[in-house]
C-alpha cells in the first residue's frame, strides 16, 4: 500500500461552461493535517464533494486508500459537508444513535464528552439551536468517528473565536496520528498553527502545496499574510 491516503490524477469537474476543478493532481500522505485554502468559488467544496461521490468527475480520478469514492471509501472517510443534512426536528441523542447505528467506528463516549464540554444538552432539538451550536454538533459527530480520513468543509466558519479555539483543541485531542485531516477554510490565521501542510487553490487549480514552516521560512510571512498577497482582489 502506498503512503498516500488520498490521490488525485488530473481530476476535473465542469458545470456547463464553468470549470470548478481543473486538472488537479495531488497526493495527500497519511498522518497529516492539511489546509485546503482558497477564496470563495475557488473549487474547495467541489473538490471535497468529488472525494465523497456527491459529484462525479468530468475526467480524471480520485482514489482514497486505493478505492474510488463509494461504499469502501465511505467506511474510511468522515465528511463534514458544507450544508447540514440532519433533520431539524431531531434531538441530539437521536442523532447520536443514528450515527452509532450507521457507522461502526462511531465512538459514543467521545461524542458525549465533547457535548458536555460545550454545554450542549442531549435532549435539545436541532431546531432550537443557533447556527453556531448546530455547527458544533455536526463537527462533534464527524470527529467522533474513528476514521482514517476526515474531510471537513469549513468546520469553523460559523462559530465564535472562543469556540474556534475549543474546536481546534477537539481536533488536536481526538486526532489519531495515523489519520489524516483535510479541511477547507478561509479563516487561515485561526487555524494555521495546527496545519502541517497547506494547499492554495485558485480557479480550480492548485497554485501552491507546501508545509507551513517551509512557507514561513521562505517568505518570512505567515500563511495568512501570504494568502492575502496571493489572492489580493
Amino acid at each position: 500500500m502506498s503512503s498516500a491516503i488520498l490521490e488525485c490524477s488530473n481530476l476535473t469537474k465542469t458545470f456547463g461552461a464553468v470549470t470548478a476543478v481543473d486538472g488537479v493532481t495531488l497526493d495527500i500522505p497519511c498522518g497529516s493535517i492539511v489546509g485546503l485554502l482558497g477564496p470563495n468559488a475557488s473549487g474547495k467544496s467541489t473538490f471535497l464533494k468529488l472525494c465523497n461521490k456527491l459529484l462525479s468527475p468530468t475526467s480524471g480520478e480520485v482514489r482514497i486508500a486505493g478505492y474510488k469514492p463509494g461504499m469502501e471509501s465511505k467506511r474510511l472517510v468522515s465528511y463534514l459537508p458544507e450544508r447540514s443534512y440532519l433533520n431539524d426536528w431531531m434531538k441530539v441523542c437521536d442523532i447520536i444513535d443514528l450515527f452509532a447505528d450507521f457507522y461502526p467506528d462511531f465512538n459514543k463516549d467521545k461524542a458525549g464528552n465533547m457535548l458536555q464540554k460545550l454545554n450542549i444538552k442531549r435532549s435539545d432539538r436541532l431546531k432550537t439551536m443557533s447556527r453556531g451550536t448546530k455547527e458544533k454538533v455536526q463537527l462533534i459527530l464527524v470527529m467522533s468517528r474513528e476514521a482514517q480520513l476526515y474531510l471537513l468543509d469549513e468546520p469553523i466558519g460559523g462559530v465564535d473565536p472562543a469556540a474556534r479555539d475549543f474546536i481546534l483543541d477537539v481536533i488536536l485531542a481526538n486526532y489519531d496520528p495515523a489519520a489524516t485531516i483535510v479541511l477547507s477554510t478561509h479563516l487561515i490565521a485561526d487555524i494555521e498553527r495546527i496545519l502541517e501542510q497547506v494547499i492554495f487553490i485558485k480557479e480550480g487549480r492548485i497554485i501552491l502545496n507546501k508545509t507551513v514552516d517551509k512557507i514561513r521560512e521562505e517568505s518570512g510571512k505567515s500563511v495568512d499574510a501570504l494568502f492575502r498577497e496571493v489572492f489580493r482582489c
Partner: protein, 123 residues
C-alpha cells in the same frame, strides 16, 4: 509559562526556542521525563508533527534524550544546560542592545539606564 508563537517565523523553530527556555528555567528540570508529544502539542495548540520535529531537533543537540520504551527525558548534563542558558542570555542581550541603539542610546547611556533600573528594582 505560556507558549507564545508569532506568525512570521517557522513554528518548529519557535517551539525549539521555548522548550530550551523552559529547560533553562527549570520548568522541565534536568533528568526529568518530558510530557507526551500529543499533550505538548495540545498545550501549545500546534500540530503534533511540528512539535515532534522540534523535539527531534533538541534530541540531536543533546538537550533531550530518549530511552526506548520509557520515553523522552531532559539531559542530566549541567554543563550543557548552562551553555544553552548562556547562549539564550546573549541572544536576548543582543536584541536588547539592538533596540536601544535604534532608540539612539550609546553604551554608556544604556549601562546608566540599566543600573538605574536595577537600583529601582532593589528598593
Amino acid at each position: 509559562m505560556p507558549w507564545e508563537l508569532t506568525p512570521d517565523r517557522p513554528i518548529y523553530i519557535q517551539l525549539t526556542e521555548q522548550i530550551e527556555l523552559k529547560i533553562c528555567a527549570g520548568i522541565y528540570p534536568r533528568g526529568s521525563k518530558m510530557p507526551p508529544v500529543r499533550e505538548m502539542a495540545r498545550e501549545a495548540s500546534v500540530n503534533p508533527n511540528t512539535m515532534q520535529r522540534a523535539l527531534a531537533g533538541l534530541e540531536e543537540s543533546g538537550l533531550l534524550f530518549t530511552i526506548r520504551t520509557s520515553g523522552r527525558f531532559v539531559t542530566k548534563d549541567e554543563k550543557l544546560v548552562k551553555q544553552v542558558k548562556q547562549r539564550l542570555a546573549r541572544e536576548h542581550a543582543r536584541k536588547f542592545l539592538d533596540r536601544m541603539h535604534r532608540l539612539g542610546f550609546d553604551y554608556e547611556e544604556i549601562l546608566a539606564a540599566l543600573s538605574k533600573l536595577a537600583k529601582e528594582n532593589k528598593k
